[in-house]
């Protein structure tokens, strides 16, 4: 009996490994391996054709001291992220609050708000490039009808980032949907209890809804940081980084070095610096979260 059980256990363990094998191979070959390799490659000068030259920390020195476009792209990406992420977070949350009310046409409204977030990014970029077109774009026409002299959104270094931020807001429906699901997961007895205690709508929002939503807000914030620092497609299609590098997002700079100038070593070191930046920002957010995120059942 005992030996029978043991062989069964062994068989189960064997099958466990077998079933997980594709995932394990994928993990090693496509994630862990490349990560380790990227550290090594970042210490080389390599065009991918001739053998790599070991250059030590030279790439990192170049990033820090000689590459002006690094600092520029870092600044652009950071400004964009620090405006766009909170803006989308707050808008998505407010929108979810409003659409969680009992209203007529609720599902139609939700669909309308959600729809832009499933339009493929290349199409989003093409559409908004047309909307932002100087003088003839819909936005400038609309502003002109209100008597406002509109800027050249994508052609003016001062307006290109605001244009990207406005466009990003169009996709707020994705965040809205997650927030809506979060709102619906809040147990209604909490609201009942608050109402019995005499809490009005605002007090229920501040003392029930927002605390219960903080774990989800944290999740959205971290995902927002990871995504917001990696903006690529829209910039690549709409402006190609211009005008005069005013929309040179970090990933664009990385892409150019790696795949246009074929500097795989330098590209790898740029990737690692961005990775580090994402980790540091996420870590700061997580550390601060003990002060503002409420976990039910904990503490």
């Amino acid at each position: 009996m005992v030996s029978f059980f043991k062989t069964n256990q062994q068989r189960e363990a064997l099958y466990g490994w077998l079933f997980a094998l594709p995932a394990i191979i994928g993990l090693v070959v496509f994630d862990v391996g490349p990560m380790a390799a990227s550290v090594l490659i970042s210490f080389t000068e390599w065009n991918g054709v001739t053998p790599p030259q070991w250059v030590g920390l030279a790439n990192y020195e170049e990033i820090l001291f000689r590459d002006e476009l690094f600092m520029l792209s870092m600044r652009i990406t950071t400004i964009f992220a620090f405006v766009s992420i909170p803006l989308n977070l707050v808008t998505g949350f407010l929108l979810a609050l409003l659409l969680n009310q009992k209203i007529r046409g609720q599902s139609l409204m939700r669909t309308l708000y959600y729809l832009p977030s499933i339009v493929p990014l290349v199409a989003v970029a093409a559409l908004w490039r047309w909307i932002f077109l100087k003088r003839f774009g819909l936005l400038d026409i609309g502003l002109a009808m209100m008597g406002i002299q509109a800027p050249d959104w994508l052609g003016d270094p001062n307006w290109v980032l605001p244009a990207f931020i406005v466009m990003g807001l169009w996709g707020v429906g994705g965040g809205m949907l997650i927030n809506l699901a979060g709102l619906q997961a809040i147990p209604t007895d909490l609201y009942d209890a608050a109402s019995i205690d005499g809490a009005n709508a605002l007090q229920r929002l501040l003392n029930v809804t927002i605390p219960m939503m903080t774990p989800l807000i944290l999740f959205n914030l971290v995902m927002g940081i990871i995504g917001g620092l990696q903006v690529f497609v829209v910039a690549f299609v709409m402006t190609g980084g211009g005008p005069s590098n005013a929309s040179l997002f970090y990933m664009l700079h990385l892409y150019r070095n790696a795949f246009e100038y074929f500097r795989l070593g330098y590209g790898s070191s740029l990737a690692l610096v961005l990775f580090l930046y994402i980790i540091v920002l996420s870590a700061l957010v997580f550390r601060s979260s003990t002060a503002w995120v409420y976990y039910e059942g904990n503490r």
């Binding site: 189960e12 995932a23 862990v32 990560m35 409003l98 209203i103 832009p116 493929p120 290349v122 690549f236």
Partner: protein, 299 residues
């Protein structure tokens, strides 16, 4: 508190009277009016770009820049669509995209569900360590593995083929493994036990019990995967160099950044590229939203 309603007044008039005569209900009525105004204004704002996309795509070139803007083109130029879609071999691009999406989706369904089964149902050493490592890679930003993966596929001679875009999917996607594992965990283990007693093998439990019961989560994963490969940009951009190997996303970018192409054709191509994914969303709405909600709320 409510004043008596003149008994001859009934129906809607009565309810209006009821609201107007009651200060509390009046206040909440005002609140609701504001709520509707805000939501409708917002819905109009997010919908305008869609209408502009479709309207522009059906216009003769001369009406594109009319002031004030023309919303309903006259005549409606349906032929803009075939014109745009044959200006570049878009049929070919779409076929290419479907080859990649099908190959990758099939792969990820098989490999991710196998992994999920191993993590949810089988006991083996280091299972939890491997699962945790897999979860970590969900957070791993794509840019960090991009260059080493490119080097790997270049060494294999796979550049300018679909293999770099399909093969990794056959080695499980960590996020999908997580999604399916959570689903499998929710299925009662009594089913496995009963099947074991009836002499089913471990593979039989996976194939005949788990998979047939997991159609909803398989549908979610399939939809996410197809959507991902339809929209995918940076991968095809890096790996596919010949025009006749382009995916639709890369082809569209090529088309809309060509300054010779006027905006109605750009918009026709963009709309044609977006519509299949929007239709797919509506067909599989339930599975889509379940997946998004799940990854956001419980993730």
């Amino acid at each position: 508190m409510a004043r008596t309603i003149p008994y001859a007044v009934k129906g809607p008039v009565a309810s209006i009277w009821g609201v107007l005569s009651n200060p509390y209900r009046l206040k909440s009525l005002l609140g609701r009016v504001v709520l509707y105004l805000v939501l409708i204004a917002g819905a109009v704002l997010v919908t305008i770009p869609f209408i502009w996309l479709i309207s522009s795509s059906l216009k003769p070139q001369a009406q594109l820049v009319a002031f004030p803007p023309i919303w309903i083109p006259n005549p409606i130029l349906w032929e803009n669509y075939p014109k745009a879609l044959t200006a570049l071999p878009f049929a070919r691009f779409i076929a290419n995209t479907l080859i990649i999406a099908t190959g990758a989706t099939l792969g990820t369904l098989v490999s991710s569900s196998m992994g999920a089964f191993a993590f949810a149902r089988l006991r083996w050493r280091f299972r939890d360590v491997v699962f945790f490592a897999l979860l970590l890679t969900i957070m791993l930003p794509g840019q960090i593995t991009m260059i080493p993966r490119f080097v790997l596929f270049a060494k294999l001679g796979w550049v300018n083929t679909y293999l770099p875009l399909i093969v990794p999917a056959w080695f499980a996607n960590p996020f999908f493994v997580f999604l399916m594992r959570q689903f499998f965990m929710g299925l009662p283990t009594e089913l496995d036990d009963a099947a074991r007693i009836d002499g089913a093998s471990i593979f039989g439990i996976y194939w005949r019990i788990m998979l047939p019961l997991s159609k909803p989560v398989l549908a979610t994963v399939a939809l996410f995967s197809v959507q991902h490969h339809w929209n995918a940009f940076i991968g095809p951009l890096i790996y596919l160099h010949d025009l006749n190997k382009f995916t639709a996303a890369i082809g569209l970018r090529y088309f809309v950044t060509d300054t010779q192409v006027h905006y109605s054709l750009q918009m026709a191509a963009s709309a044609a590229f977006s519509i299949p994914i929007i239709v797919l969303f509506f067909l599989g709405q339930r599975y889509f939203i379940q997946g998004i909600v799940f990854s956001g709320v419980k993730g």
